[in-house]
């Protein structure tokens, strides 16, 4: 069991995950941000590695990726920073990014390195099921890394069942079929979608992402799933002065401490 699987075995509701782009706004604050997020109560983290052509991302994460690349962030630099990950951070950590930097780094080398520094899973939005099964699944498994698949309101039931079968930690439910950073519009059809997924009684827990930016959208998501992921809203927070110091307040605004 990796840390992620452990977490889901022990905590079933109101999970909160935060995404941030490594190397943004400064090159060397990756672990400072991760540590602050854990202390503020985040349950697990997604650390994004930047790519020049992020087609699934809206303006906020695009700009953070551009800035991170300008700052000199690469997979080599990130893995160097993550050498100290497990000295400072105990919660599960996922790496999130596009397939091309992984292909260049080498898939085996990437997985080995990720496992070695204590990463628990990977989210690669442009790695489809066919390619994952054929080329990547074995390497992920050998390194005890969970691959996280995305499901949208337009994903068919048959495909969701297939994804459920391939997943071993959680399924990432997109609140809408859109790019990151769009506003969550909880319309009837979205509630129907959440209910439909809940009704399927999947083997894996579900976490809702995209458009979760405040307590209202977080609470709504937690009614239907095991938790929610905040991305663009936190990346916007990182653009402010004193972003490290104010992380507890940011988290508290999303999920008030009980």
């Amino acid at each position: 069991m990796n840390r992620l699987q452990n977490l889901f075995a022990n905590k079933k509701s109101n999970l909160l995950s935060i995404y941030f782009t490594a190397g943004y706004p400064e090159l060397n604050t990756t672990l400072d941000i991760a540590e602050a997020l854990e202390q503020a109560g985040a349950d697990f983290l997604e650390i994004g590695f930047p790519y020049s052509d992020p087609v699934a991302d809206g303006p906020t994460i695009q700009q953070s990726s551009e800035k991170a690349l300008e700052n000199g962030m690469t997979l080599n630099v990130l893995f160097e920073q993550l050498q100290q990950l497990r000295e400072r951070v105990n919660i599960p950590v996922l790496l999130m990014g596009y397939i091309n930097p992984i292909v260049q780094y080498g898939i085996e080398r990437f997985c080995k390195k990720a496992a070695e520094v204590g990463v628990d899973g990977v989210i690669v939005p442009d790695l489809p099921i066919y390619e994952y099964e054929k080329l990547y699944a074995d390497t992920f498994k050998q390194n005890n890394l969970s691959n996280i698949f995305l499901v949208t309101p337009n994903t068919s039931e048959e495909r969701i069942r297939k994804i459920d079968g391939l997943s071993n930690s959680f399924i990432y439910l997109l609140s809408s079929s859109s790019i990151t950073g769009s506003t969550l519009n909880v319309s009837t059809s979205i509630e129907d979608y959440y209910k439909r997924i809940k009704g399927m009684e999947l083997n894996n827990p579900t976490i809702i992402g995209f458009g979760i930016s405040n307590n209202a959208s977080y609470t709504k998501a937690c009614e239907y799933a095991n938790g929610a992921i905040v991305g663009s809203a936190f990346v916007k927070h990182l653009a402010m002065d004193d972003y490290l110091k104010n992380i507890p307040e940011f988290i508290n605004n999303i999920r008030p401490r009980s």
Binding site: Y51, D53, A56
Partner: protein
């Protein structure tokens, strides 16, 4: 076909559909339906009729006598420059608009670099009365202002791509993001033989009319449908794949694709993808692309906006890897000189893209009686400013 696509969308090691889940339903619907539509009699009849009466096909295969004399072989130009809108791009735009119509789509999006594909798409949208949104890099909009105006006259909305390097690859990203947000009513007309499967295959099929006609015309003019050489320029590679398509299984025919070397392959200002690129994934396809060691896509350079794409279509990557086609390059200067030569020897002003293919003739040695076909993919009116500045007319 030996060099064709397999059931998963791969040409050997290249191709596939590396798309986020948000695009999966769009791509899956297209994959499931496009062949059925393309084989439908009603579709075929309208496609053929529009290519004939609206585009002006078949495009002539012109035996360039003075070129032939100069180079010591029978040189033929396949005159895609004579098509409506001035290039081969219209062949694919017509095919895809008829497909979109049959899929019940109401809104069309496209990306464009130099503006040729944007103009072709705006044209077919006007023809069919469909809404048209064209994404174009902010930098390209400034470089190609007349084509921006043309698209607007044709009723299209031109949206500047302001992300990343603000050129063709970023316009493609923006179009993909638009499609993610508008999956129901929108069809994305990709202009080159790139993108996730089934796009490369679909674009190749629509452009294959070029070599289909060329074979028949060669038979009439030379007594054999097979030439010794076929040449075309390659950026993403749509005219080249159309020009090669029906010759792929005729192994005696030497296929030559000419990339843009820009200021020179080793100068850092080049778009010679097969020389400078490595295998990777861009815009949903596994192919050869120009990138850093860290896998970040590099912005290419060529004087010709239609050739400065950092990748090539996956089928080209395959033809390159298995040596079915030879991939060479021509510099800006070589292309411009070749363009001027075509003006002076044949009275044809070629697009600078097409002039790259002509430039390679200088580096070839022919036997008397060799038949050589070059795809003249577009006309040079859009490039007059560049020619005039370079030669000082």
């Amino acid at each position: 076909m030996k060099y064709g696509v397999d059931e998963h969308g791969y040409y050997g090691d290249f191709g596939g559909a590396y798309i986020p889940e948000m695009l999966y339903p769009n791509i899956e619907a297209l994959r499931a339906q496009y062949l059925k539509v393309l084989n439908d009699d009603d579709f075929k009849a309208e496609f053929d009729q529009l290519l004939k009466d609206y585009v002006g096909r078949p495009s002539p295969l012109y035996h360039a006598k003075r070129y032939s004399e100069k180079y010591g072989a029978n040189i033929f130009f396949k005159r895609e420059d004579l098509n409506h809108t001035g290039s081969h791009k219209i062949n694919n735009a017509i095919g895809q608009i008829l497909l979109a119509e049959r899929l019940g789509k109401k809104r069309i999006i496209a990306e464009t670099g130099a503006g040729q594909h944007g103009v072709a798409t705006a044209t077919v949208c006007a023809l069919k009365g469909l809404e048209c949104v064209v994404y174009m890099g902010e930098i390209d909009m400034a470089r190609q202002a007349p084509n921006v105006a043309r698209m607007k006259m044709l009723g299209a909305t031109v949206v500047p791509a302001t992300s990343g390097s603000k050129t063709l690859k970023d316009a493609t990203n923006e179009a993909l993001r638009d499609w993610i947000g508008n999956p129901e009513d929108t069809h994305y007309i990709i202009g080159s033989a790139v993108g996730p499967y089934p796009y490369p295959e679909m674009v190749a099929k629509f452009q294959s009319i070029i070599s289909f006609e060329a074979k028949k015309q060669l038979l009439e003019q030379t007594g054999s449908e097979l030439p010794q050489y076929v040449l075309a320029c390659v950026g993403g590679g749509s005219n080249a794949i159309g020009m090669f398509y029906n010759f792929l299984d005729d192994e005696s025919v030497k296929l030559i694709a000419v990339e843009a070397a820009g200021k020179g392959v080793e100068t850092g200002h080049s778009a010679a993808t097969t020389s400078l690129g490595k295998e990777g994934v861009l815009h949903g396809t596994r192919t050869i692309l120009m990138q850093t060691e860290d896998g970040q896509v590099v912005e290419p350079y060529s004087i010709s906006a239609g050739l400065d794409y950092p990748g090539i279509g996956p089928q080209h990557a395959h033809l390159f890897k298995v040596n079915r086609a030879e991939y060479v390059s021509a510099t800006d200067d070589e292309a411009l000189n070749a363009g001027l030569l075509a003006c002076q020897l044949e009275g044809i002003i070629p697009a600078i893209e097409s002039a790259h293919a002509l430039a390679h003739l200088e580096k070839m040695a022919f036997k008397p009686g060799d038949n050589v076909v070059i795809c003249l993919s577009g006309r040079g009116d859009k490039d007059l400013d560049t020619y005039i500045k370079h030669f000082g007319y």
